[in-house]
């Protein structure tokens, strides 16, 4: 990979007559990059240094007599039952969402890739299938708050089918809220998988299926031995991206349950937000934020590695 990377710029530079000094010419690319570099320093480097320094101090932001606090904030966060609950909830939320995104995304992508239907029909279905992803999370949250209301249409359907006896408060029942928000996240997130997998499916050469068909394989064997291996790289990169995004989900939880009832839907993001903007414990929040950053860095490391393997 690295060896094959083309050295793109040099021919152009050599062709240009050497008007300016070499130093000035060397600085040219940095000139073009300077707005980006300034923004990265202001929006990334400085804030990360700030949040790390906050996490080792006390009385930050709201008061100006901040003092060094060592690891006290970290000890406080890591021994807080709410944080541990948030960690567990986030793990469940991510695992179930990802599995469902993959299964739904792949199923829908394969149906949309069928040779049995005309292009127009498929195009119409494709737009309908992408719909959930086009609505911002704030909208997704209010739609589902209405649908999942105890007297809402979901309860009506389930009641009519005889599956429940009375209206269930899906988002307000401690035993059901986590599943309800996970379901909403599944609904709003599968199209992204589907779009990428559909592009992946369309890229599989037909010869592979024809060769497999000649060998007398059935539909399922072709799926197992042609489709899945061919899609593997797409699936891996989508899974890691989904992992990173789902772990960062804030708006959906905040607008449906706010982390409740009784912390049952508290996530790392809502926990951190509450520490900062509800409790004004910015130091504690910073420690939690740094822990979230560390977790994400580990996940991102796997993403980069999975990209390299390809």
């Amino acid at each position: 990979m690295t060896l094959l990377a083309p050295k793109t710029a040099e021919p152009v530079e050599q062709a240009a007559p050497p008007k300016r000094s070499t130093l000035a010419r060397r600085l040219v690319p940095y000139g073009y990059l300077s707005p980006t570099l300034i923004l990265i320093v202001v929006l990334m480097v400085v804030p990360i240094v700030m949040v790390i320094s906050y996490s080792f101090r006390d009385n930050v932001i709201v008061q100006d007599n901040s003092v060094f606090a060592g690891l006290a904030n970290y000890t406080k966060v890591l021994t807080d039952p709410d944080f541990l609950a948030a960690l567990k909830n986030t793990a469940v939320f991510i695992t179930v969402s990802m599995a469902a995104h993959l299964v739904l995304g792949l199923t829908f992508a394969m149906m949309l890739n069928t040779q049995l239907l005309s292009g127009v029909t498929k195009a119409v279905f494709r737009i309908v299938y992408i719909l959930p992803w086009l609505f911002t999370i704030a909208v997704v949250a209010v739609i589902w708050r209405m649908l999942l209301d105890p007297s809402g249409v979901v309860n009506y359907v389930l009641h009519t089918l005889g599956l429940i006896n009375e209206g269930v408060n899906w988002l307000g029942d401690p035993g059901k809220a986590l599943w309800a928000v996970t379901f909403i996240n599944i609904w709003s997130g599968y199209p992204f998988f589907m779009i990428s997998l559909l592009a992946g499916l369309q890229g599989i050469p037909n010869d592979l299926y024809e060769a497999a068909a000649v060998d007398g394989t059935n539909w399922f064997q072709r799926f197992l031995h042609v489709t899945l291996p061919q899609l593997r790289p797409v699936i891996i990169s989508m899974a890691v991206l989904d992992l990173i995004w789902t772990s960062q989900q804030f708006a959906l939880i905040w607008m449906t349950t706010g982390g409740g009832p009784l912390n049952t839907t508290e996530m790392l993001s809502t926990y951190t937000y509450k520490q900062a903007f509800s409790e004004y414990e910015f130091a504690t929040a910073s420690a939690a934020a740094v822990l979230v950053l560390l977790i994400t860095m580990v996940l991102a490391f796997f993403y980069v590695r999975s990209q390299r393997e390809r």
Partner: protein
């Protein structure tokens, strides 16, 4: 031969059945939102539920559109999203040109930093941003939102524009330089005009990210006259003891810009998106 045909019909029925089921799962909630926006609030939870009720009207929409406070949310969202889009394209174009046409020390490192910015959790950034924005006097202002939104939009835009410029032959720049022009003229006179399709795709995505952003808009603004549409929807949920029809009307009005942009640029957009996701 008849069995092959029967099998084919069976398979087709199965696929259509599956597609319809999936479409109901994806589309019914959206349809229900649309239908609720035309109801009177008293009929939202009527039993049995009806898609179209006798009180069908556009009242919820006129209510939202006739309310200055709600219109302000839209104005704010448009201002912020358009400013973010223009600034992102400008900065990313310069960076993309540097990455595509020059070789320089630290190129790989800088590129890796830009890629990794995408993975940094917003919740980690929002705390120092709050401190920073307050210190800079940008709390509860447009520039505060515009600047912070660019942390999401810039990395993707740079990656996509670099990839786009890489597909354009270097001979194009050379022809300008032979005529005595500089790299700067080559960029603006030659590369930008032929990159318009790519820039549109990146611009649409940038606009969508900014339009939909929630966490920073929630934390870095305080007064209602600075709130954006997503926060406006949430505020509507709190204040009017659940005017569901208005909430749905506002949700639809707030989704229209993104829906239109998506439908107009669907092909280009999906192409760019999957290319970014797969190759980035």
């Amino acid at each position: 031969m008849a069995t092959v045909k029967t099998k084919r019909t069976l398979a087709k029925t199965g696929v259509i059945g599956g597609l319809v089921l999936g479409a109901l799962f994806a589309g019914l909630p959206v349809l229900w939102m649309l239908s609720t926006s035309f109801k009177s609030n008293g009929e939202v939870f009527q039993n049995p539920p009806k898609l179209i009720t006798s009180s069908f009207s556009f009242d919820a929409y006129t209510e939202i559109l006739g309310n200055g406070a709600q219109l302000r949310f839209f104005l704010n969202s448009y201002l912020v999203a358009i400013a973010v889009t223009v600034l992102t394209l400008l900065v990313a174009l310069l960076a993309g040109y540097a990455f595509s046409r020059f070789d320089f020390p630290m190129k790989k490192t800088i590129n890796a930093v830009i890629v990794s910015v995408q993975a940094v959790p917003p919740i980690t950034l929002v705390i120092p941003y709050f401190g920073l924005v307050v210190a800079l006097g940008l709390y509860n202002t447009y520039p505060g939102l515009i600047l912070t939104h660019m942390v999401f939009t810039l990395p993707y835009a740079i990656i996509m524009i670099t990839a786009y410029l890489n597909t354009l032959p270097k001979e194009l720049d050379e022809s300008v330089k032979v005529d005595g022009g500089t790299g700067w003229t080559a960029l603006w006179r030659i590369l930008v005009p032929i990159s318009v399709p790519g820039l549109i795709a990146v611009g649409v995505y940038t606009f969508m990210i900014s339009w939909n952003e929630y966490l920073f808009a929630l934390s870095l603004t305080r007064t209602d006259d600075m709130r954006t549409v997503p926060i406006g929807i949430q505020l509507l949920m709190g204040q009017h003891s659940y005017e569901w029809n208005q909430m749905m009307a506002m949700s639809i009005l707030g989704s229209i810009p993104v829906l239109i942009l998506f439908l107009l640029f669907q092909k280009r957009f999906i192409g760019g998106l999957t290319a970014g996701a797969v190759k980035a």
